[in-house]
């Protein structure tokens, strides 16, 4: 057991990376199964038992297709686009806490989170806002009018919905008083989930998450009825595969962020009862680790539910028209998000903040603390 802490953390990083890819892979399978279920079809059942090897078959197909470069395309950027889409999609899962800490017998404590930063929420937001570059660059470099239109649509859509998303996050931030995703989860560990404090904020965030991941009903950038294939019209082989794969990773990350921010992350009802019961019979260490593992199972259950929700919506709702999309973003979500901030602020003023730290910050500071701030 003489493995240094850094190695453990590296192991967790690798595990998070692998799990992200694995879940994205099987999301493609789940998408087909859910679509088949909702449309009363059989779905994939040829490759392996229950069609479980379908993602593998897809990968083989994509890898062996011809690499195609359209004439007049900017070759560097044409390749760079899908790489960027994939990279930005994978970056976001680094700060999501997939569980509390595991404590070993010798006192080593490892977090089930790749990296813990105190600006976790901003990090996710920043990475998400970069995601659109992959689509834009790829669409422009294809030297195709339909691709360009898809890219331009993606840009306008991303910027419009990021605003409302940021506003929804600000309201949440006012409630929690911290940007660290781990601390936000731990607050919900000891109290109610944030969905109780921010129901409106969650709805706004959820709609914006759909728009940011370019999922139906917001998949205007690849709208095949108008734009052939949108930004990936000219893409073939694995470059195309990377774009599609990045979308599923984004869905996974969006689900993870939603369950962390609004649905308690790795906290589950009755965790204190489990902890206390096990502490009495097995000791504190064992109880802590069991609760952590149960918490990890819980957050994955929540994530899977949200991934299913994404698919459920995709196969239920039709696509928006582009002016409807813009009207929804700017004249509905944005004002509602601002209203949500005002209401949240009023509630905090009347009922007091949830977190005592915010209460402390509201009080006028003494001169002593002020000098510390300046120095």
């Amino acid at each position: 057991m003489e493995i240094p802490l850094l190695a453990w953390q590296g192991l967790v990083i690798l595990a998070v990376f692998g799990i992200t890819l694995l879940i994205a892979t099987y999301s493609t399978y789940a998408e087909r199964v859910v679509a088949a279920f909702l449309q009363d079809r059989v779905g994939p059942d040829r490759a392996g038992p229950f069609g479980l090897l379908q993602p593998l078959a897809d990968a083989v197909k994509l890898f062996t297709k011809e690499e195609f470069f359209p004439s007049g395309a900017n070759r560097w950027l044409f390749v760079f686009g899908p790489c960027l889409a994939m990279t930005t999609a994978l970056m976001a899962s680094a700060v999501i806490p997939f569980g509390n800490t595991l404590i070993f017998g010798d006192g080593t404590e490892i977090r089930l989170q790749a990296i813990e930063v105190n600006i976790g929420m901003l990090y996710v937001f920043g990475v998400v806002s970069l995601g659109v570059y992959g689509i834009m660059i790829g669409g422009w470099a294809s030297n195709n009018k339909f691709s360009l239109l898809g890219a331009v649509r993606a840009a306008a859509q991303a910027v419009s919905y990021e605003l409302a998303m940021g506003m929804a996050l600000i309201a949440l931030l006012m409630v929690t008083g911290t940007l660290s995703l781990r601390e936000i989860t731990l607050q919900q560990y000891n109290g109610l989930w944030n969905i109780v404090y921010q129901p409106l904020g969650f709805i706004i965030f959820c709609v914006c998450a759909f728009a940011e991941t370019n999922r139906t009903p917001f998949d205007l950038p690849e709208c095949e009825t108008e734009l052939v294939g949108g930004y990936h019209t000219e893409y073939s082989s694995m470059k195309m595969g990377l774009y599609l794969f990045a979308e599923y990773i984004n869905v996974f990350v969006a689900s993870a962020v939603m369950s962390t921010l609004y649905f308690g992350g790795f906290s589950f009802p009755g965790e204190h009862w489990v902890y206390n019961t096990l502490t009495q019979s097995q000791g504190e260490l064992f109880a802590h680790n069991v609760v952590t593992i149960l918490g990890t199972v819980t957050i994955f259950a929540k994530i899977f539910f949200f991934i299913f929700f994404f698919m459920w919506v995709r196969w239920t709702l039709p696509r928006f028209r582009y002016d409807q999309l813009m009207r929804l973003g700017w004249t509905m979500l944005f004002p509602i998000a601002i209203l949500n901030i005002l209401v949240t602020g009023a509630c905090i003023l009347f009922f007091g903040a949830k977190d005592p730290k915010i209460e402390a910050a509201k009080k006028p500071q003494t001169t002593e603390t002020r000098t510390v701030v300046r120095g």
Partner: protein, 170 residues
């Protein structure tokens, strides 16, 4: 490690900033500018200003440059369609740039770098809560004035973009 990281980031920032100026294709210029912002955000992180680093990425790389790219893609600027710049404009640009360089050199000539004292240095100085407290207590008035300025600019943009009576574009 901090020093070598600093030199690496400075190298990236300078090279990509030069790329912004020298790139023939405006799209490449924008992409180089985004890379510059990333290098500068790296510098912020080295200075322990995490919030500033994140906001720099979100606002500049994530929103403003997306809009830049958006507009440039629409304009479809090529070397063929680019109008020929007269010699007078080039001379004027060179003189203005030279003057700016002169001012910068004059301003920075006598500056001596002040290193942080490890004993009294507050590592939490760049954290969000600290920054918020300073911004909303010490600099409340300038902060609010800046936000009013943004509001004015926004109202102006909406006024300019507003549809005239009876006008229909689609």
């Amino acid at each position: 490690m901090g020093t070598s990281l600093f030199y690496f980031l400075a190298f990236v920032a300078l090279i990509s900033a030069l790329g912004v100026v020298f790139a023939k294709n405006p799209i490449h210029s924008v992409l180089f500018l985004i890379l510059t912002f990333f290098a500068i955000s790296g510098h912020y992180l080295l200075l322990n200003a995490q919030f500033l680093a994140a906001v720099n990425i979100i606002v500049y790389a994530g929103a403003i440059m997306v809009l830049f790219l958006f507009v440039i893609m629409f304009l479809n600027l090529n070397t063929d369609t680019e109008p020929h710049k007269p010699a007078l404009a080039k001379v004027t640009a060179a003189v203005a740039g030279g003057l700016l360089l002169l001012v910068l050199i004059a301003a920075l000539r006598n500056v001596t770098p002040v290193g942080a004292d490890a004993a009294t240095f507050d590592s939490q100085i760049g954290m969000v809560n600290r920054l918020g407290l300073v911004l909303y207590q010490q600099y409340l008035l300038p902060f609010e004035l800046a936000s009013v300025l943004f509001l004015v600019a926004m109202v102006g943009a909406v006024m300019l973009g507003k549809r005239e009576e009876g006008e229909r574009n689609f």
